[in-house]
């Protein structure tokens, strides 16, 4: 398991998807805001949270192909399946490595970003907590959709139809206040579903 995670991190570090890129992406999205909506502080504070959520969902959607697909295409997935004792371990290490690579950067630069958008500490903490719990859930969802689409080809539309509605509750509750309990529940629910469906998808993949 550690090996698999290390490997994914190594891969992310040296191929395009590294920390810098991801965090720059978020900063850049946020940089567009003042140009569009003007520089009034209240306005920007209001938008900040919403845009973070949109940014997070997009960056997960944008990169979900990388969870299993790239490894599938070049045959590394065969080795991963062979060399690990259980499918659950594979799935869980993918959660971890994908989260570290594509979500963690957001949380590291979040304090900086909230400075730029004039938020105070307690607000930042609430946003942080919501985003954190939400990002877990969204990674779980992305992983199982990615595993499912490995097995069943020509499901691009299916993929779109599954992903987006599942992200909606996270975005709605995430941008509300005091909703971390709901997000926690949602994430736990999606964890259970995801671990089950992802391993199912991986098991089917061999047959395809």
């Amino acid at each position: 398991m550690y090996n698999l995670i290390l490997r994914d991190l190594y891969l992310a570090l040296y191929s395009s998807a590294n920390f810098f890129y991801t965090s720059s992406f978020f900063i850049l999205i946020l940089v567009l805001l003042p140009f569009i909506f003007g520089t009034s502080i209240d306005q920007l504070q209001l938008l900040f949270k919403g845009i973070l959520w949109i940014g997070l969902s997009l960056s997960i959607i944008l990169t979900m192909e990388r969870i299993f697909n790239t490894d599938y295409e070049d045959g590394s997935l065969d080795i991963i399946l062979q060399k690990n004792s259980s499918l659950e371990i594979i799935v869980i290490s993918k959660y971890i490595s994908h989260w570290v690579v594509y979500c963690l950067p957001l949380f590291i630069i979040l304090p900086l970003l909230s400075l730029l958008f004039y938020l105070n500490t307690s607000d930042v903490f609430a946003i942080f907590l919501n985003l954190l719990l939400g990002s877990f859930g969204m990674i779980f969802i992305a992983t199982f959709v990615s595993a499912l689409t490995l097995a069943a080809k020509r499901t691009i539309f299916l993929k779109a139809i599954i992903m987006i509605p599942l992200f909606v509750p996270f975005v709605i509750f995430g941008s509300g206040d005091n909703s971390w309990l709901i997000l926690l529940a949602l994430s736990m629910l999606s964890f259970v579903v995801s671990i089950y469906v992802s391993t199912y998808g991986l098991r089917l993949y061999g047959e395809s």
């Binding site: 720059s24 850049l28 003042p34 520089t39 920007l44 400075l115 730029l116």
Partner: protein
């Protein structure tokens, strides 16, 4: 025939290196002495304005480095002299460093003067974009395996990105923003007190020396990495 870097040039650069480092350090010591101890605090801003002595030179050189970067990329396209390409590549990192420095010092300065670390005005934001342009230039070169093509492509990017420079430079005049309009670099009478002018000049000189030192170190590495010396000139 165009100018070629030779073994002699490289050796000269290598020989000059210790002197450059020494003079950079000296200039910084003198400059910081004047900036921090000798010069009077500003009567409105107090001691916080001392950060200007780092902020202003690094902002200037951030812009200057990009100008050199874009300029040598253009020259490289015209003359195909690989030396220009190496100049461009050596200057990019330094430029990025100055950009970061001016962003950081600027926002440290912004806290006491504007009350916030950051404002979304045109100059500041375009400076942030400049940082991303440097970043993109450096990453793009690394991301392409065939270095021949990588140089061409990143040179093209550098030239396109040059649009940003006039935007940064004139943003303060064009848009009504919080940021200080030019008071020093106005060509006619500088509207700034001599007691500040002196440390600022020394710090500018020190930063320039620093730029040159780092540039030569990077340039030497780039030359050695890229084997553009003629046969027989290898080191």
């Amino acid at each position: 025939m165009y100018f070629r870097v030779t073994k002699n040039h490289i050796n000269a650069i290598k020989a000059a290196n210790p002197y450059l480092i020494l003079s950079t350090v000296t200039a910084f010591v003198i400059g910081l002495y004047y900036a921090l101890i000798q010069s009077p605090p500003d009567y409105i801003q107090g001691d916080s304005m001392r950060i200007m002595y780092i902020h202003v030179p690094s902002a200037w050189f951030a812009l200057m480095c990009y100008t050199i970067l874009a300029g040598s990329s253009v020259l490289w396209f015209i003359t195909r002299n690989p030396t220009f390409n190496l100049v461009a590549r050596s200057i990019a990192q330094i430029g990025m460093m100055f950009t970061v420095l001016s962003l950081v010092t600027g926002s440290i300065w912004g806290k006491p003067t504007w009350g916030v670390w950051w404002v979304w005005d045109a100059r500041l934001t375009s400076m942030l974009l400049l940082f991303f342009l440097y970043l993109a230039y450096i990453f793009l070169w690394q991301a392409i395996a065939n270095k021949d093509i990588a140089s061409k492509i990143s040179a093209a990017l550098a030239i396109i990105g040059f649009i940003n420079i006039p935007i940064i430079k004139f943003s303060v005049d064009w848009w009504n923003t919080l940021h200080q309009p030019p008071s020093i670099s106005k060509l006619s009478a500088p509207s700034i007190d001599v007691s500040m002018m002196l440390p600022l000049s020394i710090m500018t000189l020190a930063s320039l020396l620093f730029l040159i030192t780092v540039f030569f170190i990077r340039f030497r590495i780039e030359v050695l990495d890229n084997k553009i010396l003629r046969v027989g000139d290898e080191i």
